[in-house]
């Protein structure tokens, strides 16, 4: 098969993987080599679905021996199969990189003959890139569940980021939908990677020459909407992964129904709004000092469709407001709807020069439509404070048109739990 035909099959098969981050690590190129990576990450294009393209994201093979219910490449599906030779992937990466199409490579794969045989070939791709081609660009490598610790270790010394997909948010769902993958075959490599990254950091502190192990850290991904877990369960899982396994990112991928299977929910459309809300809640966990238990609870296990999770929290906690712009600390400012990380930092910076006035707030970039209900500026409120939460809810939804806006008609979504 020609490389072009393989590329068509194997990039098409990779497109449902949500992670396309190339940031978080800087590597200087060395004199006779091609490639470096940059701290903030670079998008090279945006595909027709509006997502950033920064890496050559492909599968090494889609010829799978497993049969996961939600996956196009499962062995019981009659799809066309293809596998790259290691050399082909190396050539593609180099040719694309030299033309500045990409930041690097994101390589994943179906399970060909066995996890180890597949992982072996994936590692040989990155080995060739790093040693023969002296490629210094970004590499993200997926770890096949069940591959041997030795291969995981080798992968980590060549790649910038390695990741093992959690796939589904609970063991029961995994058992039901991906019966050949076991919880421990996913968690073991994750734990190994986490430990190795930690040890490596210590090593590098004592010797700067020590080789780097996955310097951009570990991430994972789970599918949202293919199984019945609540948002609360999902967020608590993410929180645990951030805290205990030191993960850099958790990616959520709205379930896109590609198979007819009575173990799967029937959706009118992929739950994009839900995915969006989960990412927002995830930000609150990582950058806003929220805990999963503050965002959701057993009584309220799913994220509000109409409001972003921060606004929803604010509406439930009128006692927290108003926040005084000229006095509140960073963490408190962050809890104001309409004030993000950037504006909170700017407010603190601008306060060093002078008292902030309402005009000043606008210059700083605070979204006043939202924020005005929750703040005072030198003691003066913008709006009548202490409105009832119900009134505010309605106002956000209808009143001044500043309510949730997402896509054309968020209501067409059918959320999971509707199993047949």
């Amino acid at each position: 098969m020609e490389t072009l035909a393989k590329l068509q099959i194997l990039s098409g098969a990779a497109r449902y993987d949500a992670s396309c981050a190339s940031s978080g690590c800087r590597r200087e190129g060395n004199p006779y080599s091609t490639g470096n990576t940059s701290q903030s990450g670079i998008c090279h294009s945006w595909s027709d679905d509006g997502r950033c393209i920064s890496l050559l994201k492909i599968l090494l093979s889609n010829d799978c021996i497993y049969d996961c219910a939600y996956c196009v490449n499962r062995t019981s599906n009659p799809v066309e199969r293809a596998s790259f030779e290691a050399r082909e992937v190396v050539e593609l990466t180099m040719e694309f990189y030299r033309r500045n199409y990409i930041e690097g490579l994101f390589l994943s794969s179906a399970v060909m003959k066995s996890p180890d045989q597949t992982m072996e070939r994936m590692v040989s791709v990155v080995e060739m890139l790093r040693t023969e081609e002296r490629f210094g660009g970004y590499i993200h490598l997926k770890i096949i569940p069940g591959s041997s610790p030795e291969l995981v270790r080798r992968a980590g010394f060549y790649a910038d980021r390695i990741s093992v997909n959690i796939e589904l948010p609970s063991q029961e769902s995994l058992k039901r939908l991906a019966p050949q993958k076991e919880k421990h075959s996913i968690l073991e490599p994750m734990t190994l990677i986490g430990r190795q990254i930690g040890e490596n950091l210590v090593e590098r502190r004592s010797s700067r020459k020590a080789p780097k192990f996955a310097p951009a850290g570990q991430s994972t991904q789970m599918i949202v909407g293919a199984s019945p877990e609540s948002d609360f369960q999902i967020l608590r899982l993410s929180q645990g992964l951030y805290r205990k396994m030191n993960l850099k990112r958790v990616y959520y991928s709205a379930f896109v129904p590609v198979n007819q299977d009575n173990r799967l929910p029937v959706l009118a459309a992929p739950p994009l709004l839900r995915e969006h809300r989960l990412y927002q809640a995830d930000w609150l966990l990582r950058f806003y000092g929220f805990t999963a238990e503050e965002i959701l609870s057993d009584d309220m296990p799913n994220l509000d469709e109409s409001f972003d999770p921060k606004t929803a929290w604010a509406l439930r906690h009128p006692e927290f407001y108003p926040v005084e712009i000229n006095r509140a600390d960073y963490a408190t400012l962050l809890r104001v709807p309409g004030i993000g990380v950037t504006s909170a930092r700017r407010i603190i910076a601008a306060r060093r020069f002078s008292v902030i006035t309402p005009e000043g707030l606008k210059k700083i970039g605070v979204v006043m439509k939202r924020a005005k209900y929750f703040i005072t500026c030198s003691g003066r409120p913008f709006e009548k404070q202490g409105r009832s939460a119900l009134l505010l809810r309605n106002r956000f939804l209808l009143g001044d048109g500043s309510g949730a806006q997402f896509g054309e008609s968020p209501k067409q979504l059918v959320l999971p739990g509707l199993f047949i």
């Binding site: 080599s33 595909s47 027709d48 997502r51 030299r98 033309r99 930041e103 210059k363």
Partner: protein, 245 residues
């Protein structure tokens, strides 16, 4: 209230600012503009003093390194009529140091920082959107028409990234080019540009990239509006993946 004029160069601007800040009792009361050289133009012309500009620049670097960046990006924007704001901004930078960029409630600071950020953003964008094509002789060529004059920092970026290759970047509108040849970077003007021959495999590689670009999008999630807002159409002209569609 004095009105000062300078010659329109970055150096001239710095030397004029240096002079005003050292001689004016209240620099907040004066204005600064580019000389237009009309007969009746009013104002005091400050001739460019290279030594004074350099001296001021190095003081600025010590006082407020971030302001140097802001100034650098500002010059890339090729904006006119903002000299007075720049004067106020630099005066504040000398007074407050790096913190100045946080003084966004000040009109002049806000104006200068916003404009410079635009150039910074375009530079970052072009780092991703620039496309090289392989020429017959093995070197690579990229063409572009950015709003801001970013060729220098852009070429520096690629000199760290594509070290092993020889390449050119050509700014079609400004007729300037950067060349990386055997590990040295040079910049210059191009009088006449003749399109060179492509290498034989170029077409095939471009096809591969277009195929990848086409298949990586999720059909159920098509969103041309989002695509255009992330990647404005003015950049499509030289994008390999947007050719021949």
């Amino acid at each position: 209230m004095n009105r000062y004029l300078y010659d329109g160069t970055a150096e001239g601007l710095l030397s004029a600012v240096a002079r005003i800040l050292s001689e004016e009792a209240d620099p907040d009361q004066v204005t600064l503009a580019e000389r237009e050289n009309t007969f009746f133009e009013e104002g005091i012309y400050l001739a460019t003093d290279t030594a004074a500009a350099e001296e001021f620049f190095s003081r600025l670097q010590q006082q407020a390194a971030e302001a140097v960046y802001t100034f650098y990006y500002f010059t890339m924007t090729e904006r006119e009529g903002m000299e007075t704001s720049m004067l106020r901004y630099l005066a504040l930078a000398m007074q407050h140091g790096n913190k100045v960029n946080g003084y966004l409630t000040h009109t002049a600071v806000k104006e200068i920082v916003t404009v410079s950020r635009k150039a910074g953003r375009e530079l970052h964008r072009m780092k991703g959107l620039l496309r090289f094509e392989k020429l017959r002789d093995g070197a690579y060529l990229a063409k572009m028409e950015p709003d801001n004059n970013i060729i220098h920092p852009l070429a520096l970026h690629f000199s760290k990234r594509l070290r092993a290759e020889d390449w050119f970047i050509y700014d079609v509108r400004r007729r300037t080019a950067a060349r990386w040849h055997r590990g040295t970077l040079s910049l210059g003007a191009i009088e006449q540009f003749t399109a060179p021959q492509m290498s034989e495999e170029e077409q095939a590689v471009q096809e591969l990239w277009k195929t990848f670009f086409g298949t990586i999008a999720i059909p159920e999630r098509r969103n041309p509006r989002l695509q255009k807002s992330n990647m404005p159409m003015k950049y499509w002209k030289y994008l390999t993946e947007k050719q021949g569609k």
